[in-house]
Symmetry: C3
Subunit: 267 residues, 3 copies
């Protein structure tokens, strides 16, 4: 594993805490390379944060810190999850780290971050990103073994993921809106590999969302439908995306994260 | 040329795609230095993006990637333009790269990015920033010749620039609003060198914008007019700026990118 | 002192001027490490900017540039302040640099940035961040002595700080709202060390703000009150924070930076 740390949070991109986390990491591991994945995750947006973390697939194997942490200061645990690819996913035990493991070779093992030898002390009760998670990442880059941080945890002991994979039954997929980008386009919990078993670009899918039934063309790119028309495309990070060509899908359907959509093959 | 890449886009500064483009660049050229110029260009804002790219004048000679790309996935070409100064401007062939060449020693030559040997494969139909443009920049930093990427293109074969330079006739300049900053101040397509041939700080200019005629003091700094009053100043990037001292110009004049303004010398 | 520069401004995080300041710093001092503290300080927000700068306590000793500069282009001075810890605080003489000195070992000495040998020339009248402050920081990293920049200034010659420390009288603290975070929570000009002399977590404080009197529980973390209830907590940067658990404090109290709050011990 290279000495790589990625940082993500719901702090807002203008937050001084980001530079402070970078400084903490560099103070512990001076030759680490830091990537800021996103600091604009919606406030307490566990589903959206989980989706952001899936994109570390496109980064080198490394330590990936995720700070969306409504439970900070309570009894919720801090954890590190090792993936099949070798990444270390670090953050609160609130489910946010789990979906990314499906893109990273699966869940391998997890440990609680309990050993205060690897904390930045004193630990602020409101900023574990700086005082617990980032130091853990930097110490791992320095070669500290996961066993040093605390007791091993089984996957079933961890908090539940904000979403599982979409349910496929015959000609139908029941999916969930898991994140929405800056252009108002929602992403679904459908992996492209699963999508391609049932549908192919060019198909027109029967869709149902928030009480509306509509034809949903499955296309390769936005430009293949007229401006203002809906479509489904493979997104750029391994899942599928609802969109309106040069428009905002979520306004058109009053859609939000967590909504359910049904996709069915036309007869 | 140093190993320098700058990245700009309309993704929004909180977008995970930025870190992913950085990782792609570093994966191909590990010792490249990356600058993020702006990722807050308005969605599909070709004029505003062109203005952002002009500011690479203040960066070292390098590879400058611009991803404002409404035509991604259609037949529009990906291109690299070499400037007189030695920069390589990389992005979609939609005109956005051309205005910067006037600040960078002029247009020297251009090539299509056609050779998929230099793509990140498979190429997403919706994210050429990651899969085509950033890899091209990193390969150029590694010494790949522009001729390797695809056929040479003449300037007249390229899509038109979103703006040309302002028109000077006698005592009058007809200019265009090409970008607006976070403080609501518009920038004009007038180079300071051109401005200084006709006007000098201290002049009061006859101005006409959106049906309103008004006196426009040409000043050195905002503080030389009263709070709330309009003025024209040399901006900080080689052009001129309309502003209201401690106010928002665009609200006062209902102005937007693309509007035309006339500036005329008082008799 | 390591070769460290931090940059902060009210430019907006999407502003191309940030990368340009980075390029200027690296052009002068190629091995400097740059941190971006915050570029989302409210436009002309001197109090909020001063609060951001206090957080460089968590960065290594270095040169910290702060560009919130309503007086740019007027006669206001550019200055560098050396702190007891060894930091160099660089920016306009408008008070914004002073509060941080209380966290950094105190005010040691100050100099005017007058020597144009250390400017980037020509100096834009509207962008001293690029042409005066960042070059000064980079030259200091290169070993230039503070005396080289211009005449020494006594603290009493400098513009006043936007806030002083809260006033403690008997059982009462009169404090000021000095900054507000993205979650609508205000920070007070009370150091935790001062707070802890009068109050302890678990106390319920009598508070008065904008004509409203209310009980204010002083807690360790947000989760110790019910969702929607107000509380006071030690913040994560050495001061105290007003908050609503999973809500926005400022909306509830119509509060803004500069407001006064009274905290009094219950009998």
């Amino acid at each position: 594993m290279e000495k790589i740390i990625s940082l993500s949070s719901d702090f807002g991109v203008d937050n001084k805490g980001i530079a402070v986390m970078e400084a903490v990491a560099l103070g512990i591991c001076p030759d680490v390379k830091i990537f800021n994945m996103s600091h604009g995750i919606p406030f307490f947006g566990i589903s959206q944060g989980a989706r952001v973390l899936e994109a570390v697939t496109y980064l080198p194997v490394g330590c990936h810190v995720m700070v969306v942490d409504p439970g900070v200061g309570t009894e919720r645990r801090g954890i590190v999850i090792e993936t099949g690819r070798g990444d270390k996913l670090i953050g609160p035990d609130n489910g946010i780290l789990l979906p990314a493991t499906r893109f990273l070779g699966g869940f391998k093992r997890a440990f609680q971050l309990k050993n205060d030898k690897y904390y930045r002390n004193p630990v602020s009760p409101v900023f574990h990103g700086r005082d617990v998670f980032t130091p853990a990442a930097a110490h791992i880059c320095n070669g500290v073994k996961l066993e040093e941080f605390g007791p091993e945890l089984k996957q079933e002991e961890l908090a539940q993921a904000p979403y599982v994979e979409a349910k496929v039954e015959g000609n139908k997929i029941t999916a969930q809106l898991i994140d929405i980008n800056n252009f108002g386009s929602p992403f679904l919990n459908i992996m492209q590999t699963v999508m391609h078993e049932l549908f192919k670009p060019g198909d027109v899918i029967k869709a149902s969302l928030n009480g509306k039934q509509f034809d949903l063309p499955y296309k390769r790119t936005y430009g293949e439908v007229k401006v203002g028309e809906v479509l489904l495309v493979d997104d750029d990070f391994g899942r599928v995306e609802l969109a309106v060509n040069q428009g905002f899908f979520i306004d058109k359907f009053n859609a939000k994260v967590g909504d359910t959509i049904m996709l069915e093959k036309q007869e």
